[in-house]
Symmetry: D2
Subunit: 414 residues, 4 copies
Amino acid sequence: MWEFMEREVIPNEEVFLSQINTDPEKRWKTYPPIIEELKQKAKAEGLWSLFMPAEALEKDGWGAGLSVREYAMLAEISGHSMIGAEVFNCNAPDSGNMELLYRYANDDQKRRWLVPLLNGDIRSCFAMTEPAVASSDARNISTSIQRQGDDYVINGRKWYISGAGDPRCRLCIVMGRQIPPESSSSSSSSSSSNKNAVASHVQHSMILVPMDTEGLKVVRPMGVFGFDDAPHGHMEVIFDNVRVPAKESLLFAEGRGFEMAQSRLGPGRIHHCMRLIGMAERALSLMCKRAISREAFGGTLASRHTIQQTIAHSRIDIDTARLLVLKAAQEIDEKGSKGARGLIAMIKVVAPQMAQRVIDRAIQVHGALGFSQDSPLPHLFIAARTLRIADGPDEVHERTVALLELSKHARNRL
Amino acid sequence: MWEFMEREVIPNEEVFLSQINTDPEKRWKTYPPIIEELKQKAKAEGLWSLFMPAEALEKDGWGAGLSVREYAMLAEISGHSMIGAEVFNCNAPDSGNMELLYRYANDDQKRRWLVPLLNGDIRSCFAMTEPAVASSDARNISTSIQRQGDDYVINGRKWYISGAGDPRCRLCIVMGRQIPPESSSSSSSSSSSNKNAVASHVQHSMILVPMDTEGLKVVRPMGVFGFDDAPHGHMEVIFDNVRVPAKESLLFAEGRGFEMAQSRLGPGRIHHCMRLIGMAERALSLMCKRAISREAFGGTLASRHTIQQTIAHSRIDIDTARLLVLKAAQEIDEKGSKGARGLIAMIKVVAPQMAQRVIDRAIQVHGALGFSQDSPLPHLFIAARTLRIADGPDEVHERTVALLELSKHARNRL
Amino acid sequence: MWEFMEREVIPNEEVFLSQINTDPEKRWKTYPPIIEELKQKAKAEGLWSLFMPAEALEKDGWGAGLSVREYAMLAEISGHSMIGAEVFNCNAPDSGNMELLYRYANDDQKRRWLVPLLNGDIRSCFAMTEPAVASSDARNISTSIQRQGDDYVINGRKWYISGAGDPRCRLCIVMGRQIPPESSSSSSSSSSSNKNAVASHVQHSMILVPMDTEGLKVVRPMGVFGFDDAPHGHMEVIFDNVRVPAKESLLFAEGRGFEMAQSRLGPGRIHHCMRLIGMAERALSLMCKRAISREAFGGTLASRHTIQQTIAHSRIDIDTARLLVLKAAQEIDEKGSKGARGLIAMIKVVAPQMAQRVIDRAIQVHGALGFSQDSPLPHLFIAARTLRIADGPDEVHERTVALLELSKHARNRL
Amino acid sequence: MWEFMEREVIPNEEVFLSQINTDPEKRWKTYPPIIEELKQKAKAEGLWSLFMPAEALEKDGWGAGLSVREYAMLAEISGHSMIGAEVFNCNAPDSGNMELLYRYANDDQKRRWLVPLLNGDIRSCFAMTEPAVASSDARNISTSIQRQGDDYVINGRKWYISGAGDPRCRLCIVMGRQIPPESSSSSSSSSSSNKNAVASHVQHSMILVPMDTEGLKVVRPMGVFGFDDAPHGHMEVIFDNVRVPAKESLLFAEGRGFEMAQSRLGPGRIHHCMRLIGMAERALSLMCKRAISREAFGGTLASRHTIQQTIAHSRIDIDTARLLVLKAAQEIDEKGSKGARGLIAMIKVVAPQMAQRVIDRAIQVHGALGFSQDSPLPHLFIAARTLRIADGPDEVHERTVALLELSKHARNRL
């Protein structure tokens, strides 16, 4: 896989960037042809949908039968390039969506959505985060899903829906709050405040909504610092009385949204974290090359102790983070996502901060080049920075780690 | 001034951003009309070109007669908004250029360039940094300036020339290496390697070049993490046999480029650092407002100890940095830039890092909103991050501080 | 004063240490004669009790009429040596006790205790912290003070009572919880739990107890890491039915203990923080001397960039901390301790951490010498470390800073 | 082993401390009897000399046949208590000395020194570091070893010779510079300056010197902050014409001192680092217990987010460090110390800093108790702090890591 990255992916990063349309009108209606070429090559070499759970290979012939830990090492490699994951059909949010459909969709839903996703023919998005509420606290999600006859009617506003800008995106998996059929939305809000936390966690469902459904409006691309990450994008999306047939659109069962969302997170965090490690390795490699080639004040940067210290700290930071993530991956393989929740919380804190730090140092060593479009470093930096917020802020995960630690010493005392 | 910021500037930030042209063709040929409206209002209220040295008021009626320290406090206020400095005609690089022209230009040059700059009628840029060399080491600057008859002929490539994208930009002050009239550029490079550091510092000159001179080509906008900061921009500029009349174009004298560049830096760094403090104050203010208004996990963010700690550290970081910068400003007033060089080096290390840290925390408290176009935080963050590289990386300044400290204990022993 | 430090104090540090008795029996019954010699010299030169409030000079002829800010700069100088403060009769806890007596004691009490303290004839201690409770939360103080007839009877256990080991220590100012005359201690504890926070703050009183009072038992010296700081010490003290005459022993008034303790803290924190800055300056000076003189790997330590960076960061850390403490001192002069409470909280967080960091770096540069008895660095390090805990942990002060900051944006919303 | 620690070792820490003689005269002539009791128990349970290389078990019946990685996990457990390693006869410097003797001593030397050490009947020390030179640069070691007839004569001053204070210490392994038999010490110093680095590394030898040899004077205990770690101690030792028979005293061969010292370091650093991890685990455990039991400001410390954050960071710091050290141990098992030198350098930077940080946080959570003699935390803190200096400062190891990293990208370019 590394050989494929070096031969096909990294040399084509510039081609990819040059093929993104700069005209604001067409920016979201086209996509770089190079990406489809690379996907075909990767598929032909069997480097395809590797993230799929091991059991999917023998049962359905999907994926490569890899354990979470085995795939983790490949996810690191794909992370060296911002386009790596998509080339191998392993990119978020499609990979998480595919895993979700694999686990919870019925056969018809699999045929309609999972198969073309696994083939790389379509793209998908996952609509959870909302601008008005703290999405890290699940009880806050307010987009409503209401049963009306044989349909569900969805109303709400979501943002930072990654992939929703892509012209190939066909499916939107919407997470929303289930409103009892008889209640109006106004009475719902008053009654919900009377319910306790446990109850509120079983109020959410996931609905499969085709992107071209009436009422689903992609309002605008949200920025990540100065980037818009076209053509995938991170879009603001309005659901304005979006109506879909209940039977074919409900994923799994009503009220099971959080349970499914949780199951999606374990391996997904491994993937994110390992890609972050790949990103940090890329940055360190660029840092070293720059340090060797750049001269200032009578010597190469590499000859200075301060730069050497920076390189040493980066190597240490990367290697320790990798060991922790691989340990978490192994624990998922052995105990499942729930049993590994302490380690998963730890890597979610460690890996994004580590990557931000290492990439920031690489930028500093590069000078102005480091924040220019001539370097992959700005994209890497922003990706690492935003992952400190996506999937829950550090503080939430630190609390998980702390409570597990404290529970070793005394139960029921917090 | 604070009242003007709150009344006129901050509410118009969104207007400014909405008036920037998104069409890549027109992006660099227009500018937001709001900025000129605000400039007229600021001028009318006397909030204009305040950075000018105190003596300029009585001698020529320019500026407001403020000391460096007095202006520093206003620079902080203007830093609360990314458009503040320009509204008050105090923005870099124009302010530094005006100061340079005020100190070193002859009367004709002042009439032609300084007066319209002070009036805010034109904009200017300062072409120093080059892609191929470490510009923090002055000896590396390689753009050539050669006397040919009555002209200077300039050849070279510069990048990150801020303001060069603006359609109102008329003047480019070019820093280059003076080549002896008789020597060819190839022999120059071989001979220069035989010269010592002192000699190489007196090889540079500054030339005033009108932006529309033949051979001066603005090649492309350079990115700063996804942003292009249109319409000013940070442009790559090629000087391809740019020919200007020697007499009217030479600033001050041949070989005095570094001396002038140094004098430009002292007050300029105060301005940058105080604006960074203003930026950090803006971020802290946004952080507090968010913390008070956002609820998660059963309480406002402001009620959590970790958020309180973040706020406290930010207040401490800002206040200590401000005291240090004001101390440096006072020392410039009392001892000049050279006498204050230790403190100037210290603030260049402290202020950008502090601002990056505080703004990064504010982003974290905001969640996804914090890196979106709906918040000023991404622009603030990027501005702080790039200022850790502009004007010399931290390491160079740390060395200055260390050598001054060591020299108290023993001379001539390093 | 600096001249006196260099001439008399610093050269006698080793003498002082060599005169401390190593025999555990006699360790707390003698004190180094050099300290009394130096005190006489300092007194003769007018460098004496300089911390006393400015008004004390004109009213009573005590102190030197210095503002808090003026004295702060002298406190820094005295901090260069661990024995500096005592030589100038400005050492904690005596200085705080003198200020307390000056403000709140009646004339008889002043004659008996304040005058000999100001003369340096006796020493004193301040008994507040208790092993069983978190003393940073005032409501927890549990030592009881009960009126019985014309006496107060005191019962409780205190520790880390600095100065209580000194054979010259004659006075102990005890902070305790006032128990209503009629109530037994058991009913008191149950009733106290029904009272709100405001009430609990006015339950405390301060009592002046001669060290030789029956029932006051100095149990053992408490360690600070491996040091015992003989002969002053930080002692564990038991009050076992200690009985003193109420009229002559009550300081100020019943229930006003916290009010007095608070007033003691403002200037006291300035003194501590400025001494910490002096300690850090001493460490930086030792670091530079070592860096210049020590050779390794083919050059002096001072020639290495990493060491230069360490020196630069230390200079920056010290200078920023000093500016903040002086600003706090000035604010106390202008607005009183209450008006300056935000800044006072900030310096309590900043200065000890800064000093610990700088001294830790100095130790690292010194190698093994840095933690040996041949260097003052271990004492300096431990002093800085313990001051991160004494007078309330960082978190309490950070909360004060945060709440003040948040209150600018919205009142009554936390 | 953990069960033995909980049952026998940890409960006896206080007994150990109480049995150390406080009389300065007798402090270095006795040792706590409890330690010998515990050693007998550990030996009886087979928890003895576990550090010995795996091959020593089958060849000579020594040790437990553990790989470096297997022993590492036990070293962590022993690190929970400051007396753990000695109880299991695995304490530095004896363990390193035993390994050295096992690898390089001849049969007579093994009989005389190794066997009683393995039995725990005697103790030993390793005399390398010198006060006058930077011992991290091996070329600086200046103690002279000169062949005179059938003897070696040793002259020099060493300090921080751990274990040399113990009355049971019988053997001192001295590292010194071999002086050619004919040369005087003065000519040696002038000639040595003409030799290059490679040559200077083969000038050193190791000599086995009985502690009671005439001329070997234990001058004084060196302090580590305020501790002296009696009865082992870290002594200053003078070699004043110490004369020993050449044949029986030379270890291995002349000029091979550094080669032997290097081989001693690999596994030794694993042991140190794993014990540091055990120390950090002990600190975290104490931190959690304190957080659960201590109340302040209306709740337990454990209920506060800031404390939870501290606990989470500590858990993350410990677990990442452990994974790195175990990885290094495994690499030693697979590739030898030289092949693992990058990882060994990394753990030497990571583990002591990590332990210092975690223990410092534990102290902060404990308040004054945390630096008192009633808590093991001060000893743990000091041990971690000094290990940042022992075995070479961080900077030397960072350089090793950096050069290995840079060498991946270009050889021979620094």
